[in-house]
Amino acid sequence: MLVYGLINSAVLALMALGFNLTFGISGVANFAYGAIYVVSGFLTWALINNLGLPYALSAVLTIVIIGVFGGLIYKFIIRRIRGLVISEVIATFGISIVILEFLRYIGFIGFKYSLPVFINGSVEILGTFVDIQRLFIIGFVIFLIAALYLFTHYTKVGLAFRGIAQEEHTSLSLGINPDRIAGWSMGMGSALGAFAALVILPLGTITVDSGYDVLISALSVCIVGGLGSTFGVIIASFIIGYAQTITATYVSAHWTMIVSLVAILIILAIRPSGLLGHQKELEERV
């Protein structure tokens, strides 16, 4: 259970990172995130099975395509309504519904839609057998977090990300184009979503409904951890991940989704800005 809790937490963290990146930097709550996650699963599946590309190539292609797709969504839709909270939410939510329900309509339902695992097999850790794929998830989360940290601290685009997150107008006066950088952040957030899909989806089948689940998980982790704070996301995913695993083991698997809601409610009651949300905290939320 300890091990599965860890894996569950890693899955949650992976799901939330992309959403968190976009939101923390451009302030756009990407409600289409779950849809992007599902689309990347199906896209990889189609690349492998319909075009016959090797797995590695199609994975890379998917991440790139989805990243560009996210950037395009920003450029053509969100840029026009940026700053209008209601419109942003409605538009991204609309995009999400268009994508997910369209996928449902053209009939991507069934067990045949599953991605191959990287390496088959399982190992024994602390007395439980764990698929290697699940270990990969933990590895990838650590890798991603490290990569994100390096990216945002040592590259030009990464520094610009942090710049517009802190103070958009000042960064504009320093020659950073907030629109372009926000587009980049949206693209990268989407690419992270695609990445998460590639790593997590081999564990099960790709279903349209998981789009909504992913969105909910990402949202709850981000709310609990404090939106825009990567470290908060990690802590929150550990809390929710373990709480879910414990509930699934001792109560019933049906109740796991309730756990996130309860976590949100408790956090909002105690610390409305989330565990580690310090950036523009109260002003924005309450």
């Binding site: 419109s87 268009v98 369209f102 309509y105 969105l215 909910i216 309730i258 809601l261």
Partner: protein
Amino acid sequence: MKENYRKERIARSIKARSDDIYALTSYREMWYLLFPRFIPIVGIAIVSYFLPLYWKKVAITTCIFAMLAVSWDFLSNCGLLSLGQALFFGIGSYTAGGLNHYLHLPIYVTIPVATVMGGFISTMILLPVVRLRGIYFAMVTLILPLMLMRLVEATKILGGTEGITGLSPFPNVWFEITLILAAMWASLFGLRRFIASDYGLIFVSMRDNDRATMASGINIYAFKAQALFIGSSICAFCGAFMTHSYQFTGMPVFAMEFSILPIAAAAIGGIGTLAGPLVGAMILVPLSEVLREFGTLRIVFYGLILVICVVALPEGIFHYASRKYNEMERWVKIE
């Protein structure tokens, strides 16, 4: 030199004269005011009473969605951006269904009780998060109906996945239509008058600038709770009504459609006008009935409408129509 023109827009003189109801001096002015209100009321009533039975049901559904849309717009007018009208709708529906099924209460008890109770329960559920603004509130309302659906599935209370069937129906379809039409117009005009009153001003000010409202010594959380109660009661009424109309309640009442269609209707009709969402629903629901054969593709269609309307036509039909009705345009030369 090339002559340049600009479009000038000024209020019609009749609009200026009839703006204040006490100064009406002619039938023409009275008609100017009554026309946009009277014609839809009478028109929709006539149309819905004389339709064939199947389309009568469609008219009822239209009215239900129109009310959901009006209530969504009211909440968004109060600064509460809800992505989960299905929550309120579902709670009203389950309350009415439960009261009718387990306590065998007659229909004229269940609907009023479900309206008030549904509003109360929804407000209580959302009370901890009423402090949240904008996106955060939207996130929680998006999550809640999906969670409640899971809860019903997990605990198998209230009929579980099968739902509750065999509830008492309305005495006849005429009664049904009259009730829903009355409720729809009452909620629309009631809310319009409410928003225009001094008391309603506080609600609108919460959306415009909640900081300033707080600084004026107003407890905005109490007012937001009131707004939630009003908005969710309307939705709960719709839920209760729908339950008895279909004689069924179950997990589909938390479906995404009840959340997304009202928003789409508001986006088409014009957000912030209350009447606009009603117009939007009057267009969307019959249209989606025509498109029924496309199945789930309809929801794709709503989503597309949402994105297009929000991005390209942020004004909406109602703003456009009222501008044409109240103002005249002319080209004037730029000097």
